[in-house]
């Protein structure tokens, strides 16, 4: 029964999406000042639809929790012997379940928007909800027609097939839901952009409505990517933290677009400039999310992330892509020319710096997009290529380096127009730090160019990030400014981690007999024993490594080579020793014929800073949201008080009286 209720909830939600679309569109036909009779249904439809879609997801979650083997999806992806937490996370460790999660988040964000956003003109809101309903409808159709998660087996299976062992990890509990919420949160920005474009309401008020959604989605994307990177780092056992894999790129591209959008929407909110550009980025960010979904699910590209791949489903998503991205770009081309140009500004100004970095971010996005799609292009001519770090790193750096420099300076500039001479001291300081650090590090040895530049930039950026606080009373600094400072500082921290990892990592690959010792960095690693052990659904060979730093007390590391039996697959469980200044990373390989074991050890100085930085960036975003929402709430209560006072004055028959407070810029 449960599965049937879930399916029914999905169909109902799809029907409500139609209602939301029609009703939202009807509000566009209403004459100004009048309400269309149909238009009142859009908001409730969105809210109820959100409830139904989330319900469907919860029901699937339950089916996985109790391992209901009469449901095909559970039988093919779960197993009764699996630890409970992985039964739950297994709900989205497969195509259908993760698409249901995607749709659930899509509907939930639409519902939240409909329930709580009252500042937009009704026509714009109607158009926005219509677009949101239209997008949701396509994905409901996709779920119901080609990826039904609730499909029953004619005969219940005796036992499930199990979950891919790589996914049997706590990382699966965090990384996909966060990332999905971020991807799909961008759908609201997309819908708002389309709504504003159709009703020609591209103005600061609209930007203020859009901003928290962009910030929220961006924070989730940041945290999701950070978690995913760390997960890949310790779970794959390859010792790397970013592989430029198509699926990683699929998450990076929306993040780049969202980062650009977040900055441009702030300019629009504060200065009423960059109108068309903001709309373009709003469309682009969610388009990148959908494009990522397509690349991942259709199997047109080969990736380490083996999703269930199906060309038929790929064709379906491609059709949706054509409809949404193609449609949005068409409306953009037709309408954007009619959007009045925003306020002008000088090149040397806060806006100027933001525009420059927006262009740089877009260029990096283009680089990543090109690199990701290039194999697709060459395969059309029957040439198989793999585009990797040798392309992405230098090509991305060409734009990332100027971007980071401008990012250091930008927040110090004034809005509208400024003289660089005013911030002479700061400019000199930044330049001195970049050059000084590079010179200092080069003095100690030969290091690759990019990590070297990274170290210099990280130092300069870390100092520059806190410069906007100089000479201000720290308690009076608005939360959103703190957000910017923390996020920019986080970039510096992350960059420092990446550069250190790139410049100073040490690696040992050795065949070691039990009792043998290998030296790496300050660490002496002794292989004490290799023993077989058994887990709930796997067996493993576990190495016991005694790690002594500078001859001190040993710490034990236990990397494993695990064999799962359902599905039969082996994974390499790395073992990590985390110090404040880096991580020791150990993996056990095969046994050689002479009885020695292959052991692979890395010493990665400050590698953890990559993810600490990611967390800081996310924290900065959260502070910014808190600051903005705080201001919005204050403004709302101030407007309400003003209206109250006006009503009182009118009731008293007075004229003039106290002027209502105008919302501050």
């Amino acid at each position: 029964m449960i599965a049937e209720i879930g399916l029914a909830a999905l169909w109902l939600a799809a029907a409500l999406a139609v209602l939301q679309m029609v009703s939202g569109a009807a509000s566009l036909r209403a004459a100004p000042g009048e309400a269309n009779a149909l238009a009142i249904y859009a908001r409730p439809a969105a809210v109820v639809q959100a409830f139904l879609a989330v319900l469907a997801f919860l029901l699937l979650l339950r089916a996985f929790a109790v391992t209901d083997l009469s449901i095909k999806l559970v039988a093919t992806n779960s197993h009764s012997m699996k630890p409970f937490i992985y039964k739950l996370t297994g709900t989205w460790g497969n195509h259908e379940g993760s698409m249901l999660l995607w749709v659930g988040v899509l509907a939930a964000s639409g519902g939240l928007l409909a329930a709580f956003e009252k500042r937009l003109p009704e026509r714009t809101m109607g158009a926005t909800l219509a677009v949101q309903g239209f997008v949701a409808l396509g994905f409901y159709a996709f779920l119901l027609l080609s990826s039904n998660p609730f499909e029953r087996l004619p005969v219940p299976a005796v036992e499930g097939n199990g979950l891919n062992p790589l996914l049997q990890d706590i990382g699966l509990a965090i990384h996909p839901p966060t990332l999905y919420a971020g991807y799909v949160g961008l759908s609201v920005a997309f819908s708002l952009a389309m709504g504003a474009l159709m009703t020609r309401e591209v103005n600061p008020a609209f930007a203020r409505v859009m901003r928290p959604w962009v910030l929220g989605a961006w924070v989730l994307l940041t945290l999701g990517i950070t978690a995913g990177s760390y997960w890949a780092y310790y779970e794959l056992g390859w010792g790397g933290w970013w592989f430029w894999d198509p699926v990683e790129n699929a998450s990076l591209m929306p993040w780049l677009a969202a980062t650009a959008l977040m900055h441009s929407v702030s300019v629009l909110a504060a200065r009423d400039a960059l109108r068309t550009w903001t709309i373009m980025l709003g469309v682009l960010a969610f388009s990148m999310s959908m494009l990522g979904t397509f690349l991942v699910r259709s199997g047109v590209l080969t990736s380490v992330h083996a999703f269930a791949v199906d060309p038929e489903r790929g064709a379906f998503i491609l059709a949706l892509l054509g409809l949404y991205i193609g449609g949005a770009f068409t409306i953009f081309a037709l309408r954007a020319g009619a959007v009045a140009e925003g306020k002008r500004f000088a090149a040397a100004s806060r806006e100027g710096a933001l525009v420059f970095n927006n262009v740089m971010l877009s260029a990096i996005l283009a680089i990543v997009l090109l690199g990701t799609l290039y194999p697709l292009l060459t395969e059309a001519f029957n040439v198989r290529v793999s585009v990797g770090p040798p392309y992405f790193n230098p090509a991305g750096a060409i734009f990332a380096i100027p971007m980071l420099l401008v990012m250091a300076v930008g927040p110090l500039l004034r809005w509208k127009s400024d003289k660089p001479a005013r911030i002479q001291f700061e400019l000199m300081l930044i330049a001195a730090l970049v050059i000084g650090v590079i010179a200092l590090v080069s003095f100690f040895g030969q290091f690759p160019l990019l990590p070297l530049l990274g170290l210099g930039l990280a130092a300069a950026l870390a100092v520059a990030a806190v410069l906007p606080l100089r000479g201000r009373k720290l308690v009076r600094v608005p939360l959103s400014t703190w957000g910017m400072v923390v996020a920019h500082f986080g970039i510096a921290v992350s960059l420092f981690g990446m550069a250190c990892e790139g410049a100073f990592s040490e690696e040992r690959l050795a065949a070691v007999a039990p009792g043998g010792t290998e030296q790496i960095g300050d660490f002496a690693v002794t292989l004490e024993a290799v023993t077989p052990i058994a887990g709930p659904n796997w067996t493993a060979m576990e190495a016991r490594l005694a790690v002594r730093q500078d001859g001190g007390e040993p710490v034990f590391l236990t990397p494993q080579a695990r064999s799962f039996w359902s599905p039969p697959q082996s994974t390499s469980e790395s073992a990590l020793l985390t110090k404040w200044n880096g991580q020791l990373y150990a993996v056990i390989g095969n046994q050689a014929e002479d009885g020695r074991w292959q052991i692979r050890i890395w010493w990665k100085p400050f590698v953890t800073f990559i993810w600490y930085g990611g967390l800081l960036i996310g924290l900065g975003g959260i502070l910014a949201i808190a600051g903005r929402l705080g201001v919005d709430l204050k403004r709302r209560s101030a407007t309400a008080k003003g209206a109250q006072r006006r009503a009182d004055v009118e009731a008293l028959g007075g004229s003039g009286g106290v002027p209502a407070p105008q919302p501050a810029e």
């Binding site: 039988a75 093919t76 299976a157 005796v158 036992e159 499930g160 097939n161 199990g162 373009m280 469309v283 682009l284 388009s287 397509f294 259709s298 199997g299 047109v300 791949v309 060309p311 790929g314 064709a315 491609l318 892509l321 054509g322 991205i325 193609g326 770009f329 068409t330 953009f332 081309a333 954007a336 020319g337 799609l373 697709l376 292009l377 395969e379 059309a380 064999s563 039996w565 359902s566 599905p567 039969p568």
Partner: protein
Amino acid sequence: MRKLSLWIPLALFAFFAGLAAYMLTQEKDQFVESTMIGQPLPAFALDPAVDGLPGASKADFTGRPKLLNIWASWCTPCIAEAPQLEALKRQGVEIIGIAIRDKPADAANFLNRYGNPYTRIGSDRISEVQLAIGSSGVPETFVIDAKGVIRYQKIGDIRPEDVPVLLAELEKAQ
């Protein structure tokens, strides 16, 4: 000029969509083909997987071409291919099974439930033979000729349309 530039995103997207649509219609090998095709079977001798049927060894692949089917009782696609294996058996094909990481009781249960197309089943508890013949998943089916040489590999479950293909491959291996 500005008007024209507004169409650029759409043009770029149209190019991508066209390319992707073309690529989707192209066949693509999703599977790792065994490099063992054309090679003789490696030597192996496996214990019986269930009571009442003999185990399997390299020496069993003599006399005429036979099918080697890699399966397991915990494998759902194996349930799906059971009727096709039955059909092949009725056509007079001899099928030797290798049960991967299975327990005798589970394997016997499976055969009771979905039929037994096998003349012999070896038990490969650690996927040793499976890996040695270049199989990366369950189920997989190999055509082995009378000299014990691997002639053809079918990855995944045998669908009804695969039955004539396998019969033809067996014929070719004569």
